[in-house]
């Protein structure tokens, strides 16, 4: 396939996803509410835990750092969050996967780009919220960010989205073997978000767990970008961390291709 034809195909998937998202305007409001409420709950919790002592540190965070982590972490979580897995599962389960298999288009590319299109508006909204959150943090808690941190943050966010997409793609492909996996998505989402540091920093689990989690893909989906923006990652650790993330992207890409080929063989064998 020529590059022009391919970019045309997936560009169209993207634009259709984008247009379809506009059909559900009220959804945006809920998305914002869904992002704000955990931040409020967690901040209240941290206020209680830190008490009145302004110099107290918990798990290596001062109160100001913890609030910054909570706000930014939650918004990063929302930015990289998937949602295509239900459609993937439905396509496998109800057999609607058929309609893509007979067309000269790659299913992975189709889902990826229509999902990106679908997510665009929501993501812009989240990015605005993030900017507002950062400005508020700068004004109230003396939080400071550097332009270099912003650039690294944006790059790490792209890696985070890729990793998260691949993780949930693999989870979704389990639908080829298991009939009912709707429950699995929410369960695995909670586990992945927790291990990614999306609820609280992973230093909460202790130093040993932190060392192990540093090598797994999860932390790169939330904690790593968040801490980059907060300027909490020592500069000599940044490049190796990106290296580990890149390795995981390669591994998960290979795994998803393997699962897809196996699953498709099964799909073609079982029928629906």
């Amino acid at each position: 396939m020529s590059d022009a034809a391919a970019s045309m195909k997936y560009g169209k998937c993207f634009s259709l996803g984008f247009k379809a998202a506009f059909e559900y305007r009220i959804n945006f409001l809920f998305t914002v509410a869904g992002a704000v409420s955990p931040v409020v709950i967690q901040t209240v919790l941290w206020i209680a835990l830190y008490g009145q002592d302004p110099a107290a540190t918990l798990f290596g965070f001062t109160f100001a750092q913890m609030v910054a982590y909570t706000v930014i972490g939650q918004l990063v979580n929302r930015l990289v969050r998937t949602g295509f897995e239900y459609e993937l599962n439905n396509d496998i389960k109800s057999g609607t996967l058929d309609r893509y298999l007979v067309k000269p288009v790659g299913y992975f590319g189709y889902r990826l780009f229509s999902f990106l299109g679908d997510k665009l508006v929501q993501s812009l909204l989240m990015a605005l919220l993030l900017a507002a959150g950062v400005i508020a943090l700068v004004c109230t808690l003396g939080f400071s960010i550097t332009p270099a941190a912003v650039v690294l943050f944006i790059i790490s966010l792209a890696a985070a989205f890729t990793l998260n997409f691949l993780l949930f793609w693999c989870v979704g492909l389990a639908g080829f073997w298991l009939t009912e996996i709707g429950f699995m998505f929410e369960a695995s989402r909670i586990v992945i978000i927790t291990l990614a540091g999306g609820i609280f920093p992973i230093s909460v689990f202790g130093a040993r767990a932190e060392r192990i989690l540093a090598l797994l893909p999860f932390r790169f989906t939330i904690q790593f970008p968040t801490e980059l923006l907060c300027g909490r990652i020592p500069s000599q650790e940044i490049a190796p961390a990106f290296g580990i993330a890149a390795i995981w992207i390669v591994v998960l890409t290979a795994l998803s291709q393997f699962l897809w080929r196996r699953g498709l063989r099964r799909f073609a064998a079982v029928g629906s």
Binding site: K9, K12, K19, D98, V102, K103
Partner: protein, 327 residues
């Protein structure tokens, strides 16, 4: 030249037997009995380019399974098939560029968007040249009379309108082979008629080879000169539509108009009695027995009028489904 060719195509499904009740479920945890079902058994036939062929059979006969194998969605258990010179289930890009399948019960359109958006996506997917796309679309829109519905969200369309859109979407790349699985299912008579007219004009205009399954015999009668009838996974009839009744040794329908409504029991004494509606009784009689039957009926019943005609197609098809064909 054959554009579709099947040789001894077979497809088995295996699944586990599930016993009813709690006890059955518990037992299943430990010992499951594997069942093999032969959905398609040694099917062979060939279809020439540009022909419209009806593919018939009762529910579960293996029609959809066969279409899925021919469109490349499913692998066969054994046997071979060639469509446009390709082995479908290898799913080569060149193959996928030249075929289309429409399943009446499955939509390929984005329900939240107007159909035009899905058409545009197909234009990109099938790499259709802009000018050619516009010409084809204009032609199809005029043919199908759907201009008004183009900007409407697909989920707000009626079933008949949506089906027209589905067919348009699958024709934009001018496929050489089109598989239609129940394109008129659930449609009212007017919409069925409209879809049929379109398919007829399509065939004469585009020369598309069409394989069509339907439970509505009027679809088949209108569109197909040839039918392939399968039952229990095997071909039970392959030939001209008009030949269906001949293979059944020429059954005839005899209708009697009676001056008084007779007792059903009295009519049931005659072989071949089917039904009575008001004063009109209907019988299905072997050709050889028509004379004897008529003489007896005229003698014994208060007959005002008597007509003899070929048995309806449904009767012949139903008998083929039941496996009563005289081979």
């Amino acid at each position: 030249m054959s554009i579709i060719q099947l040789d001894n195509l077979c497809r088995n499904f295996t699944y586990y037997e599930k016993q009813a009740g709690l006890r059955g479920s518990f037992k299943n945890l430990f010992a499951r009995k594997m069942i093999t079902k032969e959905a398609v058994k040694n099917i062979s036939f060939a279809i020439d380019e540009g022909k419209t062929v009806g593919f018939l059979g009762p529910n579960g006969a293996g029609k959809t399974t066969t279409l899925k194998m021919l469109s490349g969605i499913m692998h066969p258990t054994s046997g071979s098939a060639k469509v446009l010179g390709f082995t479908p289930w290898q799913r080569k890009k060149d193959f996928r560029m030249q075929i289309a399948i429409v399943m009446g019960q499955r939509s390929q359109l984005w329900s939240d968007l107007p159909a035009l958006e899905s058409f545009d996506l197909n234009r990109a997917i099938y790499e259709i040249d802009k000018v050619q796309y516009k010409n084809t679309l204009d032609e199809l829109v005029a043919l199908f009379g759907i201009e008004q519905q183009l900007p409407v969200q697909v989920r707000r369309l009626s079933l008949g309108e949506r089906m027209k859109m589905e067919i348009v979407a699958s024709l934009l790349h001018r496929p050489k082979v089109l598989f239609l699985d129940e394109p008129t299912i659930g449609l009212d008579i007017i919409s069925q008629q409209a879809i049929r007219d379109l398919l007829k004009r399509l065939n004469s205009k585009f020369g598309t080879t069409v394989m069509l399954t339907s439970h509505y015999l009027s679809d088949i009668e209108d569109l197909c000169e040839r039918i392939i009838l399968i039952n229990h996974g095997s071909v039970v009839y392959d030939g001209a539509l008009s030949g269906v009744n001949e293979t059944l040794a020429g059954r005839k329908t005899v209708r009697l108009i009676l001056s008084e409504q007779p007792d059903v029991r009295r009519l049931s004494a005659y072989d071949g009695f089917r039904e009575i509606e008001g004063s009109c009784a209907r019988f299905e009689i072997d050709r050889a027995g028509v004379r004897a039957f008529s003489l007896r009926a005229l003698e014994e019943l208060p007959v005002i009028d008597l007509t003899i005609e070929d048995a309806p197609l449904e009767e012949g098809i139903a008998r083929l489904y039941r496996g009563e064909a005289d081979e």
